[in-house]
Symmetry: C2
Subunit: 505 residues, 2 copies
């Protein structure tokens, strides 16, 4: 029951630094930034309070994870003012006294704190030339200043700023990734036939929460057997039945602490040993992930090396070891789309080798048929949101038009060279998803490339995904994810041979 001895990040979040970064990206030397934080919410038409979680952009600029706050940042004087809600006495009885204004200044990285009743007076005093806001949805509190509002620039500046993490953010995501890795390890140690997927979810959340990571960054996926073929399976209500002794379990879960989260997937056999078939698919995905790490620095020229790469057959333990030894080569400048293509090519090559795909490799690659087994992206930025913002374009001002289209806001594709300070997932996968396969097989001109009999043999594997959260550094990268992923390490851990495994860290 003892908590992990993982170093705690105690220093308060340096949000002033975030404000200055955003201000510099805004290239504005006058006007103010105004934001309204999240409000308390109740469930439907009831008095049942929902767990509060601050809106990410507001947290980025203030570090406040309490409802009802506003924030004003003066771009001329660089003064950060926190605007606290006026709390009525009856709420104090139920929820306790709010922080005093001096306490707020001590607790958060701001220059001043005022009550919401003084917000208008503050804005009149500042008399800004413009008020930069995220959108028009949350501005009812500053109605008298409606004429000054501008939405064009704040969001792209914030997104750009959030893409490259500060040292505090890095330390925080590292810690929550360590905590979540330990929770994954706890599941490997605990799982047994007869359990229900939700029991494992409960244990995962408990292991994170007792170490201070009280929320999950996203709904955990605990998918046994064929359920793992569904990419965002979150029902988690199936029993791990012994009728499938080779059953794999895919756990995609990562906790959140102080609004910063992580994203980790591990896939492992319920009985502690990979079956032959499961191991074949698992080793392919592991190769996709590790070759990737190794190949990143050379991605721009990877076509030259592809043939040599393809000659690495899988599974070949000594190749993996060789690849692992050069993991440290990963570094800035690499283009994500090349990495994505590389993993696709590797999977295509391996599925041909397995007889699942049939035909000329170059042709199959051009037809993208491998997407039938790997229908998602290689990874994404991680931070305040699990699919974090930014990275869509190479430069901030060239992309601001995209932000006018709100449907584009959720896009988290990395379309620019990697940079130090980015935190990313690397999450290749291979799935046997009936719905996806049906779509491909329904097209006669494409179905000829699939060997149904061979596919049927691997159906029970369900799906494999291996996902790490890594930091891009000046020299290369740091893998925050410390849960084992090598076949031998997982099997040793699950066999209880902890001593064999801890050397891996």
């Amino acid at each position: 029951m003892n908590s992990l001895t993982i170093s705690v990040v105690k220093k308060k979040i340096p949000t002033k630094q975030h404000c200055l970064k955003v201000a510099s990206l805004l290239q504005a030397t006058e006007g103010v930034i105004y934001m309204r934080g999240g409000l308390e919410g109740n469930r439907d038409d009831t008095d049942i309070e929902l767990q509060f979680r601050q809106e990410s952009n507001f947290f980025y600029l203030t570090g406040v994870n309490q409802p009802g706050f506003h924030f004003v940042f003066d771009l001329k004087t660089h003064t950060a003012t926190l605007v606290a809600p006026v709390v009525p006495p009856q709420i104090i009885l139920w929820k306790g006294p709010p922080d005093s204004l001096p306490t707020l200044i001590k607790k958060y990285d701001v220059d001043a704190a005022i009550l919401a009743s003084d917000l208008h007076a503050l804005l009149y005093a500042l008399s800004p030339s413009a008020i930069h806001i995220l959108d028009n949805a949350n501005v009812s509190a500053i109605e008298p200043f409606a004429g000054l509002l501008t939405t064009a620039e704040l969001r792209p500046a914030l997104y750009e700023s959030r893409l490259i993490k500060t040292p505090w953010e890095i330390a925080h995501i590292r810690r929550v990734t360590h905590v979540s890795s330990h929770a994954h390890i706890a599941l490997m140690r605990t799982v047994q036939f007869g359990m229900c997927e939700y029991e494992l979810q409960a244990l995962f959340e408990y292991e994170c929460a007792r170490n201070g990571a009280l929320r999950q960054g996203y709904l955990p996926i605990v998918a046994s057997g064929r359920n793992a073929a569904t990419l965002h399976y979150t029902k988690n209500d199936a029993v791990l039945a012994r009728t499938d002794p080779d059953m794999l379990l895919l756990i995609d879960a990562g906790a959140e602490q102080d609004c910063y989260g992580t994203d980790i997937t591990r896939t492992f056999p319920v009985r502690g040993e990979f079956s032959r078939k499961a191991r074949v698919i698992y080793e392919i995905v592991l190769k996709m992930q590790k070759v990737l790490c190794w190949f990143m620095p050379f991605c721009d020229t990877f076509r030259f090396m592809r043939h040599w790469l393809m000659s690495l057959s899988c599974p070949h333990r000594h190749h993996h070891q060789r690849l692992q030894s050069v993991l440290a080569l990963l570094r800035p400048g690499v283009l994500w789309k090349n990495l994505q293509q590389l993993t696709t090519d590797i999977l295509c090559h391996e599925l041909i080798a397995l007889g699942i795909l049939v035909g000329d490799e170059e042709k199959l690659i051009d037809l993208h048929v491998v997407r039938a087994f790997y229908p998602h992206g290689l990874g994404h930025s991680v931070g305040l949101d699990v699919h974090d913002v930014g990275g869509k374009g190479a430069g901030i001002f060239s992309t601001s038009s995209e932000f006018a289209d709100s449907s584009q806001r959720h896009l988290f594709l990395l379309e620019r060279p990697l940079e130090a300070g980015m935190v990313l997932t690397i999450e290749p996968g291979c799935y046997f998803n009936d719905a996806v396969l049906r779509t491909w097989l329904a097209q006669p001109e494409l179905s000829i490339y699939f060997d149904l009999e061979q596919i049927e043999k691997f159906r029970d594997v369900g799906g494999v995904r291996i996902e790490d959260t890594v930091l891009i550094t000046e020299e290369g990268y740091e893998n925050f994810t410390i849960a084992p992923k090598e076949v031998n390490d997982i099997e040793a851990l699950m066999a209880g041979a902890r001593d064999k495994w801890v050397g891996f860290w």
Copy 2:
């Protein structure tokens, strides 16, 4: 790690019975009921899916805890039709295939299932004289029928129906109360100085979740020491510091399964033994709760017996035993406001005995000064919502005007005699809350009744609340809450003397 051997309620929820009950309360023999269930939601401006929880009224009529459904109940033929969302192929890849229409009919207690694309055709075919809806917020899908909509009667009928629980509901709430009781017991066994409140919250949620109660009915309150004086303290971020060796811990938490929840509070000493002062306050609250149970049948005439009752000094173990032996007298017909008054009177009497309140007992009761220490209601209905609906008035149609005022919707006061089938909490408390006391002491004409020196002696106790969820039965009541609350039982449990305690069940 084994799950509890608590009987599982597997039978599907008999929602048809609920529909017929509501229909009979509506007193309508034609027209239809139309409801739209909850939709999926994302957190703020992100793609992060929020955990789905069906709107309670929709769950009551359908048993469906999936997003995107509609429901139509024909009041003429009593046909229940579930209307399923049309799921696009790309969603199936990510979330798995939806239930087929025949599966829906098998899975839920409905007569028919159609796709949302056929909703208009169904309504045209039924050609209803009126469409009963809850409110106008969720009717965009049936715009062509806007002229038929009526909001006047459905909500009161639903609330009345939900107040008196059906056997399935009773079995379900009993089970989730048992599971939650075990989680409370787990905390009593586990707590130690040095832990953080959130670790206990995490353990509570885990103990519930691994037994299938995956959600909490409300945000758990884990309040140590003086934090317990804040009624809805949910920060749960304090460390249980050994500097307060007499520290009490107040846990107000209850899980939810299949949308039905419970509500339990236990207060116990971190070190496993009540200090003298903590025990004094604790025994008063226990007396408030137990005398209450004993007194309920006589409440209408309780004034006659008050003087005798008051003569029971506290703590007196043999009195408690005597009271406990007559718990079974609790039964229908009792008026809640009398019970509330009774607990208030007991507390007043005891606080005078302790020297905390000073003055004539009758006068202090008339001035309600005891509300300075007990500023909340005695309890409420529990069901699909933790503060469940219904019970506001004695008859459904006499109260329908109240429902026109949406601000009244959250009221859960019981203003009518108890009836068999009601599920209620009984939760007296006593708190030393600075903000509340300040309000009372600021009034010179009232402050004279408070002995500040005496209050100061008990300040560290923080707050005590003891809360059970009980069912009113024809013969009396059944207490679903099986976590111990007697001082000796709690101390024996915490000392590890499980054998001494299990006989209590």
